[in-house]
Subunit: 271 residues, 4 copies
């Protein structure tokens, strides 16, 4: 087998498993997604004790079946790309590897095969493969908005973390171990539960002073949720505005047009 | 009875039960809404054990009374429209059918007559019938904003679902059955309860590591609520901007223009 | 005493208790606010059993003292205004009356004197009296934004209410009385607790199907909070924009200027 | 030692501990931050009983070590600045003092040394010292937005507080002590827990009427979170808009202009 004959075959494989513009490529994607979904569901069901007792063996064999399937697919992917290392260390390459490792590791360390649910992240590839342009564009927009607001969000998170450390410690001093505030880390955990308005109720203040401070934390948490919301809204609005703006009128240079505009709204020139 | 005499009668019925511009039509609507409200309340009260024991018989007869009433109304509606099939398979046609079925089904499968509360959806027709233009317009606006942000929201929901699957499984491994994390589906349920800041507290982490991961999930959930909010706000703002404008192109009837538009963006005609 | 002499005295009283531009008027306001705050705190403390047992008598006499004080003030207010009926039936006139009634009613119906906390609403007058222009303006803006978004909010609330009725009934059928879903009204209560992300945990689903539906409700609730937020943000933004917009350039008619603008930003003309 | 010789030395110290433009200054900052982080972690761990029992002595000595270290640093800071009083009464001067006091006070009042976690606020200085311009700018923006929305937020908070006082009292009358609503302050605490959607579930209404009122409070709380969010979003958007603009008037140096401004709004000069 010469290299020349080999190349087209490798390229054919590449087109099938990495792209989705051929019939067979789309079929491959649909089978892959079904297999991923099935394997994740099996891992989930296996964790339910009553089902594990009854169907444990079937689940075990199916888990190995899917793991070997995905391992073979992983190896074919390495074979199919021109530069294997660029695939292996890419985001999806690492996900593909992590998606099969737990089964092999579970031979040595039983109990960790539940990590196989990480396979669900492989479905992210669907968005990419099926060339769902709209979804990609929208996801890009969200990512862009979050990326450009990251500095503000870090400042916000640092403020929140400092607050829960100080407030949690105060509650530890006020309430003490009797109400469940047994240590400062636990009190900080409680402060986070309260500030984020989750409110489990497994620990809750019993003294008057503690309840007053808790009320302050709640109102604080209720109010400052406005901050990340405001940040993301403003950034998203800016990103939308920027992306919507690629049309420019060649006659009057008006550069703000709707996506469906065919004529300039200011001078009536054809865009 | 000739067809000629029949037609006007059918039209008259149509005007009464489908429209609300005549006195008798409005009266019909008010009676209908009252009947719907009453029948829903009766189903609710019937589910309260103490009331069921005392007034069960009365509730039973009233339920049948309203069901027969709505069945007759349903048949008249079918009779009144020109093309029955277009009504039967319309949104409100299906709701009208579903609103009477549970009573009949409860003869065969007792206990399911509580599904009658679906009747509450029939009240949605009020907005349409009473020609509450303002409300319709506003509802339209909200729907439009949600519709045009659906791609972003699907991306967001997929991210959230992937996160709770992975985080829930991690918690299952960390906490185990002792703290109530008895299976991965249950742990995913817990992760949703936590991420959405509901926080029942029926299951809550007991180990230090579990509480740390829980704290991360909470802060994540507290933060990412900003994303759907940002999406809807931006879309709503765009819809408002577009609708607030009453400019209609006299040449091509395009009716969505920016406030500062001087020319039609579709055909280039001067506005 | 002639009417002439009486008039100025009545006007003087009016200036003291209804306005705050004189020294004595401001002093009156400060005393009034202190009295209101004190009387509300006393009602609160009186409800704490241990304090009631020890200081019950003192609280009782102080309550009567404040009630008589506010009654006298109420009568003077009626005397001071030109047209008593316009004061009596105004918002603050009714609040002033309701703020003293519970003490008198508690002679006949003991236990209802706790309603005296309604007095806290009298402090709202502070904002008005002290001529805190900025606060009034801001409150006005918020009210305006909420008022112009009321149609959208009613549509939203109606949708939420229909949803919790249908979802609550479904949960009643799925879970049944064993998990605490003893009736449809109780299940609707649970659905509201869950949809609003409050999550007490006094009632929580036990079956797999119930937990799946609960997860859907939570994610729904987590998502649709975006809707009122979006509505209010957009309206508030419009109100801000409108109010900021009173300056119009006399030369070029540009009407969007900052609050601190002295010159037109488009043509440089003095505003 | 003459004053002349002393001055440069003092300035050198100042440059090291107050600024971060020299190598040694940056090294000092990194050591300081590490020391702060370590000392806070030690205080936290010391509060965990099992760790306190085993390593209590080590924690005790390390606490004193860090306290003496920070005390020395505090004294050097006072020595290094030109006008000690301006440092001592500045925000960071007070934080620096409060960060060492609890250890000394714990000799007299044991148990209060946990207040040492206040040291975490010293890390705020990092942002300032390391000249993290981007973060400062972003923090400045958030602060600006919150500052200019403070009037609206105070109006909002006052409305929320009045509501929880009135609603809490109503619940106290409706539910009574049997359901845990033992006093008005406790009922107000419950109302805050509910309105902010925290929902511990330690106290929850048992009567039908109480649950109906609770449902109203929840929907209210779910809805009005839109208000602070709307306020902050609008303000943040305005601040962004203003700051995003780099136009500076060459005549009067006014640097806040709209994006479409052609003339200075303060002096009318062409930009």
């Amino acid at each position: 087998m010469t290299k020349n004959q080999n190349e087209p075959f490798r390229e054919k494989i590449h087109r099938i498993i990495f792209e989705a513009d051929s019939k067979i490529g789309q079929l491959f994607d649909i089978i892959l997604i079904t297999a991923i979904a099935l394997s994740v569901i099996i891992v989930m069901l296996d964790s339910v004790e009553s089902l594990h007792d009854r169907y444990g063996d079937i689940f075990y064999y199916m888990e190995w079946f899917f793991t070997i399937l995905f391992t073979v697919e992983y190896l074919i992917r390495i074979y199919a790309v021109q530069k294997p290392s660029s695939y292996i260390f890419s985001f999806f390459g690492l996900i593909d590897l992590i998606a099969v490792l737990p089964t092999y590791l579970s031979i040595l360390f039983p109990g960790y095969h539940y990590l196989l649910v990480i396979r669900v992240l492989r479905v992210l590839r669907v968005f990419r493969i099926l060339k769902l342009i709209t979804f990609i564009g929208q996801a890009q927009m969200l990512k862009e908005a979050l990326r450009s607001s990251r500095h503000k969000i870090i400042v916000f998170l640092f403020t929140v973390l400092s607050s829960v450390i100080v407030l949690g410690s105060l509650m530890y001093i006020i309430e003490g171990a009797k109400s469940g505030f047994t240590s400062i880390p636990k009190s900080i955990y409680w402060a986070i539960v309260t500030l984020t308005t989750v409110g489990y109720g497994d620990i809750s203040p019993q003294t008057e002073l503690g309840q007053m401070l808790a009320a302050v934390i709640m109102i604080l948490g209720y109010g400052i949720i406005a901050v990340p919301t405001g940040i993301v809204t403003v950034e998203l609005s800016k990103v939308e505005h920027r992306i919507a703006n690629t049309k420019v009128c060649s006659s009057c240079s008006e550069d703000i047009h709707d996506n469906d505009a065919l004529f300039c709204k200011r001078c009536g020139n054809k865009l």
